[in-house]
Symmetry: C3
Subunit: 316 residues, 3 copies
């Protein structure tokens, strides 16, 4: 594998999940694989789980880890070709990516959507800029429009907890006071299209995700009907794609409550975290026995470790 940019880079999800679960059982068994190999983690945005779990994954593989908060510790980057760089940006991604490629063996990058310009965000200028010019593999630690390491951890988690071959999985929008990117939802939707599941998306009108991502996935604008018989409830807020980056609604009636969870088939509750308690979801749900958010976060390590292992072994 060269880069892990999106769900499309997974050639066989079943095999990947099986292998991740094997890694989880013996996380140090490939510790020689990464010896004398260096991963550079470049952060353009805050991170807790991704920051720590990707470091842990690399350490489990015996790699050296260099962490850099790119925006604050380095130079502001230009991404456009042909620009006369007489404004704020000091360095072009062309040089930055080529140079970092000489000091590291793998780069992992986190760069959120700015939510100001849909075309710019969906062009993935940061990740694609690095991929274009880097001469080493690039891993997506959450880009403007996707979070494939999270989605891979989600697939592992669903596989571990499912009680039937084809569970019903519901992705539900929930309210949030701030505008959030669509990245986690996008990658989860793409992942569910590769899993054997009855998959439904539910959200208020106006929060439709990009149709090139949702494709034929059914959308139910009635959250309660969507929840019926669900085996997994995956909750996430995102800002509007159509009215780009807007918080059209913070409709409290979409909050996840115990009553709504009772409509399900004792569904497991999932969320990528961080989660705002009692805004997105009630305490009683988060703290209930069907909440698997902590184990879901734990699987971030094994998702990252699988991806890094495949890169180090240069296998599909």
């Amino acid at each position: 594998m060269k880069n892990y940019f999106s769900i499309q880079d997974i050639d066989s999800l079943d095999h990947w999940v099986d292998e991740a679960i094997k890694i989880k059982k013996a996380p140090l068994s490939d510790k020689v694989l990464g010896v004398n190999k260096t991963i550079g983690l470049l952060f353009f945005n805050p991170s807790l789980r991704t920051r720590l779990s990707t470091q842990k994954a690399a350490l489990n593989l015996g790699m050296n880890v260099i962490v850099m908060n790119f925006t604050k510790e380095g130079w502001s980057l230009e991404y456009e070709d042909g620009t006369v760089m007489d404004q704020g940006n000091s360095e072009h991604v062309k040089e930055a990516a080529q140079v970092v490629s000489q000091y590291c063996d793998v780069i992992a990058i986190r760069a959120f959507a700015k939510l100001e310009n849909k075309d710019e965000d969906y062009s993935e200028k940061v990740l694609k800029g690095f991929i274009k010019y880097a001469t080493i593999p690039v891993v997506n630690m959450e880009s403007a429009t996707g979070h494939p390491l999270q989605a891979l951890a989600d697939a592992i988690t669903i596989t571990e907890y499912k009680k039937k071959d084809k569970p019903k999985v519901v992705l539900s929008w929930a309210p949030h006071p701030k505008a959030l990117p669509q990245a986690v939802a996008n990658s989860f939707v793409e992942m569910m299209q590769q899993m054997d599941a009855h998959f439904v998306i539910t959200h208020p009108v106006g929060f439709e995700l990009a149709s090139q991502i949702t494709k034929q996935v059914p959308i139910d604008y009635n959250q309660e009907s969507a929840f019926k018989d669900a085996d997994f409830i995956y909750v996430k807020n995102w800002s509007s794609y159509t009215d780009y980056g807007k918080v059209l609604s913070a409709d409290d009636s979409w909050k996840i409550t115990e009553d709504k969870m009772k409509l399900t088939n004792q569904a497991k509750f999932m969320h990528c975290l961080p989660v705002r308690r009692n805004v997105v979801v009630d305490d009683v749900v988060l703290d209930g026995q069907n909440s698997i958010i902590v184990e879901q976060a734990n699987n971030r390590t094994y998702a990252a470790q699988l991806v890094l292992k495949k890169i180090l072994k240069n296998e599909k």
Copy 2:
């Protein structure tokens, strides 16, 4: 040992100090103990000595080290139970602590007093929040009300330099232009109650530390009389506990001078650093042959290493 939160977690100070001095003589002798173990250092505030010495201690034990400036690199945390999190905080300590516990084997945390609300600071919401929800040991790298790694280094230093079984140790307040926490003073006071010493506190009226900490320790409001025959002068500024967080006085007459040091029994001069020269203490004292501030800072490594060793060996 589970957590190292305060001086109360030391079961036998004599044994601890003896062991730390042994570690100092052969700091790499336990280098296999921490192999494949990871410590996460979470900083909510600036740090020089603690940041470097705790890393060094972990490296001496063969551990992996992950450093995170939590406030700037991660998410703003909520500590109250039941809050509707629709304001500035993105994540609850309940999730943060549980999640970090899965990526690390030990967490160490620095979170200063805000000096705005005494009850909030003395509730130790950050450290106690992590201790409540973490499933791995938590080490205090200076909390709102205590700095037990500093106090342990102080105990090692006094043991190394004392010339009699029961030295006279004086904790003296000194002036400072900014309001500082009581943490270092509190832990030193608690530590001195476990050491065999004649211990006296001296400070201006209004700077009494919490009585639940000072207990029966004599307080002398006359700095010069307190200094008489002292073997160790430990200097530190703190803001008022009674009139909470206030700089009631920057009384220059409390500065430590050569003349005052002449009142002592050639006392060793100690300070936890950083120290403002010629405000807290005159250059001539800091640079004099009885100043042991650099060796005191050196012992921070061995204090941290002792605590981490006990945690890794899971011993009292």
Copy 3:
């Protein structure tokens, strides 16, 4: 070698470059040399290449690496002796340097010119303050007036690419919207005085570098005549030394163009990076086959590794 502060610390450039090229061929052959040794990288300013390449060099030598953004993560330092420290600075370099010396085996420091006061910048108060008080070797990762690791990488690069024993090397000023330090230019000038080269500096009137650095090096105020028959064009902007720290001119006519490069002897194009495209130099030059900026950046690792190796082996 004790410290690597400036080009003057190089005893025999030919031997150094030869050894760096050997290290480049087998970068892991000294991996036992740094085992259980710790380097502390202290950053007072942003850094990309220096940050990553110095870490990589230390890892290649088997060292532990501790990185600290000193200004943001630690305390603001005082450098003057005898100051009454009642203003913004919390700690004196005297304590900071002594204390860090106990946790690390080598310190490397980056501290830019402030460009406000020539005497202060050229006194090198930060680097010299650390060198004065540290008890371990100090490496300059770009100080107020010099960048000797860059210049060492430049010497390696020129040696690798030169086609004649005594190539013509031109250091050309180029326009830039912001005031930049003279550090890179200064160290390159000093380095070229140690290399066997026809060395010429070209810049507009008013941009003369310090005469104690340029000494007898010829200055040509006509960029085009300077470029004639050049084998290497080394481009860098710097603010005025005479009218200290001022951007006297952003004269576009000094930009490096394809036409100007045609005046040369198919010269290799060099720049320390970051570079502002189409302000300092046109895309077509940077992207042309004679641009060796990426390989030049690559040599930063081997320059740093050579210096650290000499320090670890304590050899000249």
